[in-house]
């Protein structure tokens, strides 16, 4: 039994995209506790959180595959299919970076110097904030489709994206400050550890960068 009406309505990518960003955010959010455990040297706990991060990243990957599978070229959509796929890709990268950075820290059992610990955690949290704001913006996608990407809803989403940009700028400032603080104490550190610490900071900063790119992609959708 097949019904023409059911067949002609392809499967909408909107709710899966919103589900995807939800999981991506939950994944990024784990970094707060992860680094908390790492700073305290609780590696067993850190390993557990890392396993959770991997599971969430994997779940996000599955949704990503699912969405791609259901977006054949024959679909007629109000916005270009490519833009939707690009949005999906940058959303997914937030989870990827989370996985990368947690893997690196856990693998080397990296010590985060206590002198910069608070500042470090604050920087991590701000990046998580960016991911949260990205989620908030993507959650408006169904409303945007309902309103056909015009009118009051567009203004609302533009506002959310502006806030996302502000958060990202804030993470940049925090990143610069954190590097400066690290620079002051780096001669007390094992040189290899210091190099990797800078790399970890870079990777964390990329979470906000990817969140910002989610905003850029949404903006592109708005301009259609």
């Amino acid at each position: 039994m097949s019904n023409v009406l059911a067949n002609i309505l392809g499967s909408s990518p909107v709710m899966p995209l919103e589900r995807h960003i939800d999981i991506v955010y939950r994944c990024a959010k784990q970094l707060h506790e992860f680094f908390g455990a790492a700073i305290d040297g609780k590696w067993k706990k850190a390993a557990e959180i890392r396993a959770e991060i991997e599971a969430l990243e994997h779940e996000a990957d599955e949704i990503k595959k699912e969405i791609r599978l259901h977006l054949p070229k024959s679909l007629f959509m109000p916005v270009p299919r490519e833009d939707i796929l690009e949005l999906l890709l940058v959303q997914d990268k937030i989870a990827n970076r989370t996985k990368d950075v947690s893997g690196l820290v856990l693998g080397r059992k990296m010590k985060i110097p206590h002198a910069v610990a608070d500042q470090f955690l604050d920087f991590v949290d701000r990046n998580i904030d960016a991911a949260k704001q990205a989620r908030k913006s993507v959650r408006e996608l169904d409303e945007l489709f309902t309103a056909g990407f015009r009118g009051a809803e567009v203004d609302l989403v533009s506002g959310l994206i502006e806030e996302l940009d502000r958060i990202e700028t804030d993470t940049d400032d925090k990143q610069a400050a954190l590097r400066a603080a690290l620079f002051k104490i780096e001669d007390k550190l094992n040189p290899v550890d210091a190099v990797f610490l800078y790399q970890v900071i870079n990777l964390i900063g990329e979470i906000a960068d990817m969140a910002e790119r989610v905003g850029r992609r949404l903006e592109l959708l708005l301009s259609h």
Binding site: M1, S2, N3, V4, L5, A6, N7, I8, L9, G10, S11, S12, P13, V14, L71, P72, S74, L75, F76, M77, P78, D142, E143, F145, T146, A147, G148, F149, R150, G151, A152, E153
Partner: protein, 416 residues
């Protein structure tokens, strides 16, 4: 005389079976959106659809039934051998039923209307002669198959664009929805009742003059709009669900409107598709009653009622499951979108019914859905299905014709 009774019973059986099939499969298209969006429960949907399918079949099904009965086959040529017409009509019914069973098993998007028209053309062209087909009428019907989805698409596009403009893109969509939705209700009800009164009722012997028709349609539509406005007024926003989806309450307002358009859709569907099942039956009954072939007599109301009842039984036995299944698959068709598609399709179909054109209700609805999509209303439409519809179109007519010819010759040699 005994043979005549056998023919009528056979035709009633085949026709009833076709009606059952129509009720089981096609009614889902009218009601699934309402059930999927929870505007109606499945129980309510079955009751509403039954009432309006039946009303549509009886009040507005006459013109299309006449077309199927006398408009395609030139029965004047058969004045001397009325039994040929009887065999042909029985063969057409069987051919269409077999083709539909086969294609629904295979999942092809085949139209009941196309099958029966193909079968009728096939039987008369080969069984009687090429002259026996009213080719110009057939040409008009085929044109209407192309025109009806396009017209429905354009109407749906315009209506959904107006919804976007007036309601969904505004700062206060809920207030705007409460203001404008009764207007849409009025428009839907007015169009459908007016066309029915002007074109449909004459077939059951009721005549109302044009002025009175407008007044009556206006009054009915106004009544529906007022009741709708009262129901809408009582809808209160749910802040919790609204936070998740800003249009939650707005969609509930459209849900009320969709109940009205779903009734219209069921009515329209009954008015056009009942003919596929009982048009041939009407022809057989006419021959059996008078013993001669006559194009004059009206379609008996009991025949229309039988068709309506068949549809209702199909709906109640099998159709409810189809409605639920389809409803789960078409969540993209939210009430604000679904009503636009339904109002457009229902108006187009009712106008075709009034004019006596047998069109595909499903294809018309697909045209309307594409229209909403063109207004950027739908997230994802699978255009491959449109291709499959066109292919199944091209295949259905010769297939129906071929089957009808084979069955016709079998019946001719078997029946007295």
């Amino acid at each position: 005389m005994d043979a005549q009774i056998v023919y009528v019973v056979l035709a009633a059986l085949f026709g009833g079976f076709m009606a059952w099939g129509i009720g089981a499969n096609d009614v889902a298209n009218a009601m699934a959106t309402s059930v999927g969006s929870k505007a109606l429960t499945i129980r309510q949907a079955v009751v509403v659809a039954s009432i309006f399918e039946f009303l549509g079949a009886v009040l507005a099904g006459g013109a299309v039934t006449s077309t199927i009965r006398t408009g395609i086959v030139d029965s004047e040529l058969l004045a001397d051998s009325p039994q040929i017409l009887v065999y042909g009509m029985l063969a057409s019914l069987l051919a269409a039923a077999i083709w539909l069973l086969l294609s629904s098993k295979k999942g092809w998007p085949v139209s009941t209307t196309h099958s029966i028209v193909g079968a009728l053309v096939g039987f008369s062209a080969v069984g009687i002669g090429l002259d026996a087909v009213h080719w110009s009428q057939v040409g008009t019907i085929v044109m209407s198959w192309i025109v009806s989805p396009i017209v429905a698409g354009i109407i749906a596009y315009l209506i959904y664009s107006s919804v976007l403009w007036l309601i969904l893109r505004q700062e206060d969509p809920l207030e705007k929805a409460k203001r404008y939705v009764p207007v849409y209700m009025f428009l839907a009800a007015f169009t459908i009742t007016l066309v029915t009164i002007l074109k449909g009722l004459s077939h059951i012997g009721l005549t109302i003059n044009t002025g009175q028709s407008y007044v009556l349609a206006f009054a009915i539509a106004l009544g529906i709009a007022i009741v709708g406005a009262i129901v809408i007024r009582r809808i209160r926003p749910d802040p919790k669900l609204e936070k998740k989806q800003h249009f939650y309450t707005v969609e509930r307002v459209f849900g009320v409107l969709m109940v009205v358009t779903a009734c219209g859709m069921a009515f329209a569907h009954g008015s056009n598709d009942v003919a596929n099942a009982i048009g041939p039956l009407a022809a057989v009954v006419a021959v059996a009653q008078s013993g001669v072939v006559s194009a004059r007599s009206a379609v008996p109301v009991w025949v229309l009622a039988l068709g309506g009842a068949g549809i209702v039984i199909g709906l109640a036995t099998f159709g409810r499951h189809v409605i639920v299944t389809v409803g789960q698959k078409i969540t993209q068709l939210t009430p604000s979108r679904g009503f636009a598609a339904e109002i457009a399709a229902a108006s187009t179909i009712v106008i075709a019914s009034g004019t006596g054109l047998p069109i595909s209700t499903t294809h018309t609805l697909v045209g309307a859905v594409l229209g909403v999509g063109a207004a950027r209303g739908i997230e994802a439409i699978d255009l491959r299905v449109v291709g499959r519809i066109i292919i199944s179109w091209i295949i259905t007519i010769p297939a129906g014709a071929f089957l009808a010819i084979v069955i016709f010759f079998i019946l001719k040699s078997v029946l007295p």
